[in-house]
């Protein structure tokens, strides 16, 4: 008497539970085989108007420990920047990343046979990029990462996938600063220790350097009138300017050259060659990515030539 309803309850519950388990098991086996079989057609699910990337099938990459790890895990971990609108930006409300670098990262993952929903983006600040790649915290790093000879000793780079240079962001109503030649006596802000602020210190001694830990704080100070200009890679500045075009503008031409590359663990030549090939062969994809992100500001840019060093 007592047992009947209880038994019914139990059996119906366990039935449902079993169904869930079966589904989960199916999904998991599906995932396990996904790196060779299809099933990755859901790529670009949350990518908005950005191009959906065709996930490569039957990727065979011998001699790449990073790729072996990605294949074994079924996921790829990519280090990105969370605070650079237009390039790598984390929307705190939705938890979604967007921007040019994010699309490049998604494209690179797709070329390795990893669908967009199997990418784990990690916010890694500039200072710990090399450590994160060396320790294996991330498999790739795509976040305004300039290729330099010194960094090449610590990590490998695929690309460059974008070329920019140090530029200047000023208030919309500012008429004094038209290029880097007008910086004497001005307060110029950039992130603490960043290459642009070191350049200002060394080559523009008449300007007053101001350093905050984040670019966004510099932009805030610029809007308040506490500093006269914000300097960093022009691509980053264009991102800020496109957010508030009624308050901010980018002036002058880039006065340095920065080559953005995809960072990967040192010595993984097979993976680097693969990514370089993807970049070289995928010119149309690159253009689509650019047009859907940074290109919205109206600028037209050609894809830079890949440097297979």
């Amino acid at each position: 008497m007592k047992g009947t309803p209880l038994k019914n309850f139990f059996s119906s519950k366990s039935l449902g539970f079993a169904a869930v388990l079966t589904a989960a098991a199916l999904a998991m086996t599906g995932c396990g085989g996904a790196d060779t079989a299809g099933g990755g057609d859901s790529a670009g699910g949350g990518a908005g108007d950005a191009p959906a990337f065709e996930v490569a099938k039957d990727v065979a990459l011998t001699g790449s420990p990073t790729f072996d790890k990605i294949k074994a895990d079924g996921t790829i971990r990519i280090g990105v920047k969370p605070d650079q609108p237009g390039l790598g930006f984390l929307d705190a409300a939705t938890g979604k990343y967007s921007g040019f670098d994010i699309e490049i990262a998604t494209w690179m993952a797709a070329s390795l046979g990893v669908a967009a929903d199997k990418i784990e983006f990690k916010s890694i600040p500039s200072a710990t990029r090399e450590t994160a790649l060396a320790k294996g915290d991330v498999d790739l790093y795509v976040g305004t990462y300039s290729i330099t000879d010194k960094r090449k000793k610590l990590v490998d780079f695929a690309g460059p996938y974008f070329i920019t240079g140090q530029g200047l962001l000023v208030a919309k109503k500012n008429e004094d600063i038209k290029s880097e030649k007008d910086l004497a006596g001005k307060k110029v802000c950039s992130a603490t220790g960043s290459t642009p602020i070191q350049n200002i210190r060394e080559n523009f001694p008449e300007a007053t350097p101001v350093e905050f830990d984040l670019y966004s704080k510099c932009v805030e100070a610029l809007k308040n009138g506490d500093v006269d200009a914000v300097t960093t890679d022009q691509a980053i500045l264009l991102g800020f300017a496109s957010q508030e075009p009624e308050l901010l503008k980018v002036v002058g031409e880039p006065f340095t050259t920065e080559n953005y590359g995809v960072g990967l663990p040192l010595g993984d030549t097979a993976l680097r060659t693969h990514l370089n090939t993807t970049l070289t062969d995928g010119n149309a994809t690159w253009t689509k990515i650019f047009d859907s992100t940074l290109g919205k500001s109206g600028t037209k840019v050609e894809q830079p030539k890949v440097d297979q060093y």
Partner: protein, 216 residues
């Protein structure tokens, strides 16, 4: 070793500024802290209230917030503009003074009531009782906690790196932009801090403790 030698300019400038921040802030914090401690034990209720309010308000505010105010909020007040270094010194001094005050006040509490009663009995007013009788005795008993406060101040100076002061806390960011490996750089910064504490502050503390030892 290479990281240190190749970037000696960074380390030299960084630690020079850390030293400046520390020495000047410690000086002002000691003076201000002593004054506030005197206020907190004074017979005038208004003085006591002002001292208590200051200590509780500033001591319970995160240092980052105080420095942020002086670096970002102060310029909007329309007062004479100060550079970021001065702003950091003002913020660090005001913050550390509250801890100095409480350390000294605990020392004042160790001085027996008979001492100030005797001072009053021979006709000394409050100021003289405090400066001639109570504080000299109080200082000798607060050397260890006072040095804890100063060691904390030395480490706290690194917070100023977030507010446009190039000191030891900013070295890491510079190193990583120069493409130097992160860990050796951080280890050198940590090592120099250990040297400053163990090589300078701790010997000074034991010297003062010995010099001011009270036979009990």
């Amino acid at each position: 070793m290479n990281v240190l030698i190749d970037n000696s300019d960074l380390f030299l400038t960084g630690f020079k500024n850390t030293g400046i921040l520390f020495v000047i802030s410690a000086f002002f914090a000691l003076i201000l802290g002593t004054i506030v401690a005197g206020m907190r034990v004074s017979p005038a209720p208004a003085m006591r209230a002002a001292g208590t309010l200051y200590v509780n308000a500033v001591r319970n505010t995160p240092l980052t917030l105080i420095l942020a105010f002086f670096a970002l909020g102060y310029p909007k007040l329309g007062l004479p503009s100060i550079d970021f270094m001065t702003a950091a010194i003002v913020g660090l001094s005001l913050y550390t003074a509250t801890y100095v005050c409480e350390a000294i006040r605990s020392g004042i509490n160790t001085v027996s009531v008979g001492q100030s009663e005797a001072a009053r009995a021979i006709g000394l007013p409050f100021m003289q009782t405090l400066t001639l009788i109570v504080l000299p005795q109080a200082f000798r008993s607060v050397v260890p906690p006072l040095f804890s406060v100063f060691i904390a101040l030395l480490k706290n100076t690194t917070v100023a790196a977030g507010f446009s002061v190039f000191e030891s806390g900013a070295i890491r960011a510079y190193l990583s932009e120069r493409g130097e490996p992160l860990l050796p750089g951080l280890l050198w910064v940590a090592l120099i801090f250990v040297v400053m504490v163990l090589g300078v502050l701790t010997p000074l503390q034991s010297y003062l403790e010995k010099k001011w030892r009270v036979a009990r």
